[in-house]
């Protein structure tokens, strides 16, 4: 699984906002230019991004194997026909080309994931979205990251308890109801305690933000991001 690794590569030193803009721009560009030439250009950008994070492209593709496996089914579904000739090449090739566009987006995403700690993304969101909404999104992200493993553990405990009582033999509807009711009740209990804790710690609209600033090296990256985002208009 791809996750943040501390390091000192160029990707690590870039501002998260420039990196996010490039990813967004690349996704827009691959939709705008879905020709083979566009695909080759986007793949070059993807490989460049992986290079700046010093990742092996093959290792990245291996970690996305489930995603890629599912995508590989699309050309088979698109080419299949219910009558003779049973399989048509042209729609399958078209679908394969469109599915291949996903690869460069995933490559850039891998470079982002391995080079950006969650707190930097939080700071980027908080700086980009102004005022109270940005503040709630920023604090909320930090809390969800911290609470997700706890809630996941709650849900697994409930599931194991249902299994231990022979719940596997009950219909899916009943199992879903039991699992959801118990998990939701636990989550709501936790939210009550979280609300008390937030109030006790003077949860304010104007706390100190983590520092984040654009350096000189960010400007070319930002320019690439803007160019990619606007590319379908050119």
């Amino acid at each position: 699984m791809l996750s943040y690794r501390p390091g000192d590569t160029l990707a690590h030193r870039l501002d998260p906002r420039s990196k996010l803009l490039v990813q967004f721009g690349l996704a827009v560009a691959v939709v705008g230019y879905s020709s083979w030439a566009g695909l080759a250009g986007a793949t070059a950008v993807g490989l460049l991004a992986v290079g700046t994070a010093r990742l092996s492209p093959l290792a990245v593709l291996r970690s996305y194997r489930v995603v890629l496996g599912v995508l590989a089914l699309a050309p088979l579904v698109a080419g299949g026909a219910l009558g003779p000739p049973w399989f048509r090449v042209e729609p399958a090739v078209r679908s394969a080309r469109l599915s291949a566009r996903v690869v460069p987006v995933l490559l850039v995403s891998a470079a982002y994931l391995t080079s950006t700690p969650v707190r930097e993304t939080r700071a980027a969101v908080q700086r980009t979205v102004p005022g109270k909404p940005g503040q709630l999104l920023g604090v909320g992200m930090a809390l969800v990251v911290r609470l997700f493993p706890v809630v996941l553990e709650d849900v697994r405990e409930v599931r194991d308890a249902i299994r231990a009582r022979g719940g596997e033999r009950r219909p899916a509807r009943t199992r879903a109801r039991l699992l959801t009711v118990r998990s939701l009740a636990r989550a709501l209990d936790r939210s009550d305690r979280l609300a008390v804790a937030l109030r006790a710690r003077c949860f304010a609209w104007n706390p100190t933000l983590p520092p984040l600033s654009f350096a000189r090296r960010d400007y070319p990256v930002l320019a690439v991001g803007v160019a990619l985002t606007l590319s379908p208009l050119l």
């Binding site: 995403s109 909320g140 969800v144 609470l147 849900v155 699992l179 609300a195 949860f203």
Partner: protein, 194 residues
């Protein structure tokens, strides 16, 4: 010794309460995305993920329910493995396995169902919303999820739109079943808080 005084703009108690609920519903959506119930035969597994969207809309209304799902998506973008099968990253939201549209659909669906059920920004007591209104709200959410997800799937994978719809069709009855379960949970009084 100098002292610095800065006025602290405290968040109101009610807002802090809704915010805490949104955070926990986001974490619960992430947790439910990791758990699914296998079904016999060739049926797709019974994923519990839509329950996050359903309860965000039902319990929190359009604003706070929308915040809950926005937090879920953002935390995934930031790299926490909260999407199904432990996936994460901006690339997964933008394209996924062609499934990125369903993630955005969950966010919009929570806002739509919250707006239908609560008819305003502030969440009201669910006892005041009749069962048909709750069903209508959740049904609208399911429609929104497919209306965004299916064309997105078609655009990413190059499947013609009718074929993309056919690929997703087996999931529709399961989602309607989940809708029924969600309303039954609310009506059964399982969520009444002391």
């Amino acid at each position: 010794m100098s002292q610095q005084h800065e006025s602290v703009d405290l968040v109101g108690d009610e807002t802090a309460g809704y915010f805490a609920r949104a955070v926990l519903i986001a974490a619960l959506t992430a947790a439910l995305a990791q758990v699914s119930i296998p079904l016999p035969g060739t049926l797709p597994p019974f994923s519990l993920q839509p329950f996050g969207m359903f309860f965000a809309g039902l319990l929190l209304g359009p604003l706070w329910g929308g915040l809950a799902l926005a937090l879920y998506v953002l935390v995934g973008v930031a790299g926490a493995p909260v999407f199904s099968n432990g996936n994460a990253g901006p690339g997964y939201v933008l394209v996924g396995q062609g499934t990125g549209g369903f993630l955005i659909g969950f966010l919009v669906g929570a806002v739509v169902s919250g707006a239908v059920v609560h008819r305003g920004v502030e969440p009201r007591d669910l006892g005041d919303a009749s069962v048909p209104v709750q069903i209508a709200g959740l049904f609208a959410a399911v429609v929104v999820v497919y209306a965004i997800g299916v064309p997105w799937l078609s655009a990413v994978t190059g499947l013609p739109l009718p074929r993309a719809a056919a690929v997703m069709a087996p999931y529709v009855p399961l989602d309607l079943l989940k809708l029924g379960v969600a309303v039954a949970i609310v009506e059964g009084g399982h969520l009444v808080r002391g």
